[in-house]
């Protein structure tokens, strides 16, 4: 009868375990990463008697809770991880694309450019008006400010991406360390135990987090130890059993983020992270760098075109136009060994042309002087104290430097440096450099237009020219000497190269019609040169280019948003399909609870019956 007692006892033990597993499931119904557990019940195998003194135990002998099983499907877990990687990659990108969109629209560069060019149009109607001249200068400043504001926002964004990526890489490495610990603990834990299940839950939670950080390939050993590879299934291992190869991150000068790893401490190799937040951030960093480069291009082109237009005309004082914009910028940063308390201020004159390689400023205690020289070694260095000027750049030194202290001055040009020169209203070159006068005796309708063309050298440089239409030809003469300088067949609108200018005639001249070209003097109310600004607007298409940057970003953003919606749905499906296996459903657990409770009660009853039977036997013997 001890057999029946044993069976009952085994049942009570097994169902107690089962009930505790159900209790665990219910308690963890809301725990993220918890995988529903089942208890494995096995019938105790019958053991036949082998010894002389032992009773025959050929009957079945109860039940055993032989293990705790996780309701887990590795394929479904992988599907969730892949979906998470894809989604978080897209979302990390969207965040920055959104910021680019906001930056490009709030600063409204193309609107400011439009205002600037419309101010030019307004000035053309009233070339001597102080108000229209002042308005043009205001718009020039507003345009430059918009470029600088956008560039500054993009610079911040670029730095933010790098910081974000760095933090995210740290997170990934931290997760890798945790996973290595779980890997270490798993083989030491009894298989199919509650402790093993808890460790595997931990492992899967870490893998889930990792996959939202970076696209990973996971392979699991029989004992549950995970190997994680990054950059595809054949990529280098991030976690290989107990070994962790930390992912490293680098940012290029333009802010493009890249990753590398050195497997087993070996040679460092670049890794293309294919999913997860890191992939999104790397992509965002490239996009921001592209927008910055595009904007710099526009800023440089705009400054150069406007300065060229200015240079082609004369201002109210009869001088050639001065540069209106500067796109150059320079920043001084202390070199690593610099330890003194010096300060260096950099300022640039309008039209400063800086060496692309930059400059270095160093302090010598012996001479008590700063020396500024070009990084590329060309030109002669400048020495002194206080303020030193080189190539249109002024470095102002303050504080107390130590011997050997040096500062690197990086130079460049682009949107972040775009500034409007402090011109006075009279310094806008509205008038053409040359004024063409036709005597009223001219019988035809021919008119001459003169446009600035730097480098044109078809005529010798003179202070006056005379153009006569005769015999179907245009004859250019020097009015002072009467010498013929050039004879060419008249073609309406065809440009003739002069000295730094080109001239063209339109209309129908008659024989003997002539024109004199004289340099435009002070106080002209001409607006001929403003057409050069308008032409530069057309040929430079600055507004369209800025809009193009915004439009291509917007198109990508719209596409990413749609993609994110789709990926979100895919991830939701993957999660619900995983949870159909691994999730805890309280109704199910309630049923299980009842089932095991009843079985437990029944097993107790078996013990009680066994005791009664045994008692009966004892009673018979009495």
């Amino acid at each position: 009868m001890s057999n029946l007692l044993g069976i009952g006892a085994s049942g009570v033990r097994a169902y107690q375990s089962a009930l505790s597993v159900v209790g665990e499931n219910i308690a963890n119904a809301g725990t993220a990463g918890y995988v529903r557990r089942d208890v494995r019940l096995t019938e105790n195998a019958a053991v036949s008697a082998t010894g002389v003194v032992q009773l025959s135990r050929n009957a079945a002998s109860g039940v055993d809770a032989t293990g705790v099983i996780r309701s887990w499907d590795s394929f479904k877990a992988t599907a969730v991880r892949t979906a998470s990687s894809d989604l978080s990659s897209t979302q990390a990108g969207i965040n920055y694309l959104d910021q680019i969109e906001t930056t490009l629209s709030t600063n409204g560069i193309s609107g400011r450019l439009g205002d600037f060019f419309n101010a030019v149009t307004a000035l053309a109607a009233d070339p001597t008006g102080q108000a229209s001249r002042a308005n043009l200068l205001t718009q020039a400043d507003a345009t430059a400010t918009a470029f600088r504001g956008t560039a500054a926002a993009l610079d911040t964004m670029s730095a933010d991406v790098v910081t974000d990526a760095r933090t995210t890489v740290d997170t990934l490495n931290g997760l890798a360390d945790s996973l290595a610990q779980v890997n270490a603990a798993l083989p030491r834990t009894k298989a199919d135990s509650a402790a093993a299940a808890a460790l595997m839950d931990q492992r899967d939670a870490i893998l889930d987090k990792m996959s939202s950080v970076a696209g990973i390939s996971v392979s699991l050993a029989g004992n549950g130890v995970a190997t994680v590879r990054i950059g595809g299934p054949t990529g280098p291992a991030l976690v290989d059993n107990l070994a962790v190869n930390r992912l490293a991150m680098s940012a290029s000068a333009s802010g493009v983020v890249g990753f590398s790893i050195s497997p087993g401490g070996g040679e460092r190799q670049a890794v293309q992270v294919s999913g997860g937040a890191l992939a999104g951030l790397a992509d965002a960093s490239t996009r921001i760098a592209n927008v910055r480069a595009g904007l710099d291009d526009v800023a440089n082109g705009f400054a150069a075109a406007m300065n060229a237009a200015q240079a082609g005309g004369v201002d109210s004082d009869g001088h050639a136009g001065k540069a209106m914009f500067t796109a150059a910028y320079a920043t001084a940063t202390p070199q690593p060994q610099t330890s003194g308390g010096a300060s260096v201020d950099v300022s640039l004159a309008a039209g400063a042309s800086l060496s692309a390689d930059g400059y270095v400023a160093s302090w010598s205690q012996a001479s008590g002087q700063w020396t500024v020289s070009r990084m590329d070694g060309t030109g002669s260095p400048v020495s002194g104290t206080g303020a030193l000027a080189i190539d249109g750049m002024t470095l102002t030194f303050g504080g107390t430097p130590r011997d050997g202290d040096s500062y690197a001055v990086a130079s460049g040009s682009g949107a972040r440096g775009l500034t409007a020169a402090a011109l006075s209203t009279s310094e806008i070159a509205a008038a053409s450099a040359w004024t063409a006068d036709a005597p009223i005796t001219n019988g035809g309708s021919g008119t001459i237009a003169v446009a600035s063309q730097p480098g044109a050298s078809g005529l010798p440089g003179l202070s006056r020219y005379k153009v006569t239409y005769t015999g179907g030809n245009l004859v250019v003469t020097d009015p002072a000497s009467g010498d013929t300088l050039l004879t060419t067949a008249y073609v309406a609108g065809q440009a003739i190269e002069g000295a730094g200018f080109s001239l063209s005639m339109t209309g129908t001249p008659v024989e003997g019609d002539s024109f004199t070209l004289t340099p435009t003097g002070a106080g002209s109310s001409g607006n001929g040169n403003l057409a050069a600004f308008a032409r530069a607007r057309q040929s430079g298409a600055f507004e369209n280019r800025v809009d193009g940057l915004a439009a291509s970003n917007a198109a990508t953003l719209a596409q990413r948003k749609t993609l994110a919606e789709a990926q979100d749905a895919i991830r939701d499906n993957a999660i619900s399909s995983r949870d159909a296996v691994s999730g805890v459903n309280l109704d199910n657990e309630a049923v299980e609870l009842l089932r095991f409770q009843q079985a437990y009660q029944a097993s107790s009853r078996v013990i009680s019956v066994a005791r009664d039977i045994f008692q009966n036997i004892l009673d018979v013997a009495r």
Binding site: E101, T435, G526, N527, A534
Partner: protein, 306 residues
Amino acid sequence: MQIGTSQLFSSAYKRMSQLSTEAARYNAEIATGKKVQTASDDTVAFGRLTRLSRTTANEKQYASNMKLAGTLLQQSDDALDAVTTQVQRVRELALRASSDTLSASDRAAISTELDGIVDAIMGIANTTDARGVPLFAGADGQTPFAKGADGKVVFHGQGEAPAIPISATGTVTATSSGARVFGGIRTADGGTSDLFTLVQNLATALNGSDEDARKAAVAQSLTDLNSADESITNARASVGARAARVDLESNQLSDLADAREAERSSLEEADTTESVVNLQKISTILQATQASFSKLSQLSLFNYLS
């Protein structure tokens, strides 16, 4: 298929938050009246809107330039009208001077009046326009006509009057060079002269003592004054033609602006009725989801176990 209890809650949360987001979008459409809020909402429409707003800004400036050009042309016309009146007066005086009955003192009086007329015409020719710039100085900002030491009126202007841009490609010359307006008059002797010289010559001739020479001079003056009148009339006609062109283009511009506004509105403006209906729809669905969720979440087998 089994649904995890926490999954039940999280998916309900997600659905409701999606509905709220959608409701917020319709709400923004109603509040701002715009359906394209950012470039990524509708890339193509946004690009089109950007170009439309740039064209609007440009044309606003062109319209303002046309308005100025119109004013300047009106001022030119007024000035030339005044000049015509003066030229008529000169012709009357010349006719009267051609009479044999006039005494030397009568002629001297006419001559003096003619000198006054020269000053008057010079005053008109030196008129400054709405911008404070002389109307007839060409490309020069300085006062165009001045009397030299010999009393002759000399043109000091330079070049052609600047053309005012009134479209991306078109310009209108709203003012003129005084040399062209007051000069280039074909005289009876086959040469060219200017209005001031003609009047001054007449004034000088009237003071001459030789009667034959005087008569010949007056007769020639009358012929020349006719061509002067014609020349001024031509200048006025040219001003009028330009003013008509400015008017025409200005009307075209405002028609284009209307068409653009219609396009902008169709691209950008939200249909408020549609937005309100959509918002109502989403609100109803959201409320139903909330109600059904609160009912579903109360269902648990544990409630029936005791």
